[in-house]
C-alpha cells in the first residue's frame, strides 16, 4: 500500500528550506533580539510546516491524521500552561527556589 498522490518538486522545496536555514543562521548576527526571534523561531515554524506538509505528505493525508497531530499539540499546550506557573512563579510560603542558588542537589541529599 502506498500513497497515490502526485509528488511535489522535492528538490525545489529542499532549496527553499536551505535558503530559510541561511536566513535563520545570519539573522542573529544583526544582534537585535526581535529579529533573532523572528528569524530563529519564526523561520523554524515555517520550515517545520514545509517539511510536514511536503516531505511527510501531511497535505495529502486524511483528516484523521490532522486531528491526531492537533490533539497531541493541544495536549502539549495544556502541559505548557500547566507547568508554567510552577517554573515562572517564584513567590509563596512553600516555594523553595533552589535553582537560583544551585542548591537543589544538596536539598535532595
Amino acid at each position: 500500500m502506498s500513497s497515490t498522490h502526485a509528488h511535489p518538486n522535492y528538490v525545489k522545496i529542499w532549496f527553499w528550506l536551505v535558503i530559510l536555514l541561511i536566513i535563520s543562521t545570519l539573522g542573529p548576527m544583526l544582534e537585535i533580539p526581535v529579529i533573532t526571534l523572528i528569524t530563529a523561531f519564526g523561520i523554524a515554524i515555517v520550515k517545520a510546516f514545509m517539511v510536514a506538509a511536503n516531505f511527510m505528505h501531511l497535505k495529502f493525508e486524511k483528516h484523521i491524521i490532522w486531528f491526531l497531530m492537533l490533539m497531541s499539540l493541544t495536549l502539549l499546550g495544556v502541559f505548557f500552561f500547566g507547568v508554567a506557573p510552577d517554573i515562572m512563579q517564584t513567590e509563596g510560603d512553600q516555594w523553595i527556589d533552589c535553582i537560583s542558588d544551585n542548591s537543589c542537589v544538596e536539598q535532595r541529599l
Binding site: 500500500m1 533573532t36 511527510m56 484523521i64 491524521i65 502539549l76 505548557f80 537560583s100
Partner: protein
Amino acid sequence: MSNRGPVATHRSATGVPTGRLAVWWVVASEVFIFGGLIACFVLFKLNGTPGFEDASETSVVAGAFNTFVLLTSSLTVVLAHAAIERGDRQKAFNYIWCTFGGGIVFLMVKIYEYSGKIISGHTITENLFWSFYYTMTGLHALHVIGGMVIMALISFDILKGYNFQRVELIGIYWHFVDLVWIFLFPLFYIANF
C-alpha cells in the same frame, strides 16, 4: 506493490493504511516527548534561569551544518519513496543509503561537538542549560541511530522485492527526526539572548 508481510499492512479501517497510521501515532507520542522537553526549556529560559547564557558556547556553524545535513537526508529519503512508487528498487536502495550516510555525518559532527564541550568542562551536570542540551540532543541522536538501523534493514527487503510501503513509513519517521532538529537548532545554537 507486494502483498507479503503482516496482514495489518494491507488493511485499513480509517482510510489510512494501518502501518502508516501506526507511524503517525508514533510521531504524535514523540511530539509530546520532545515537545515537553522544549516547553520546559523555553519556560526556564523565559524565567531567566542562570546558565542559559551558555548557549553562546555552542557552535552555530556545527549546528547549521547538521541542519543542512538533516534537511538533505530528508530530501534523499523522500526521493527514495518517489523512486519505489515508480518501481525503481535500485534507485530507492541508493537513496536510502544516501540518507544513512547523512545520519552518519550528523552523528560524527555531534560526537565532535560533544567531545569539544566535555573537554572544555561543559558536562551534563554543570547547569540546567547543559542538562537540557545533552538530554535533548542525546535523545535526538538516539532517534537518528534508530532510524538508520531501520533504514538499513528495509533497504535489503526492497531490493528483494517486498515491503515497499516501509520506505514511506521510515520516511515519515525520518522527517520527524529532521523536524525536531529544526527546533533544537534555534534553541541551543541561535537564541543567545
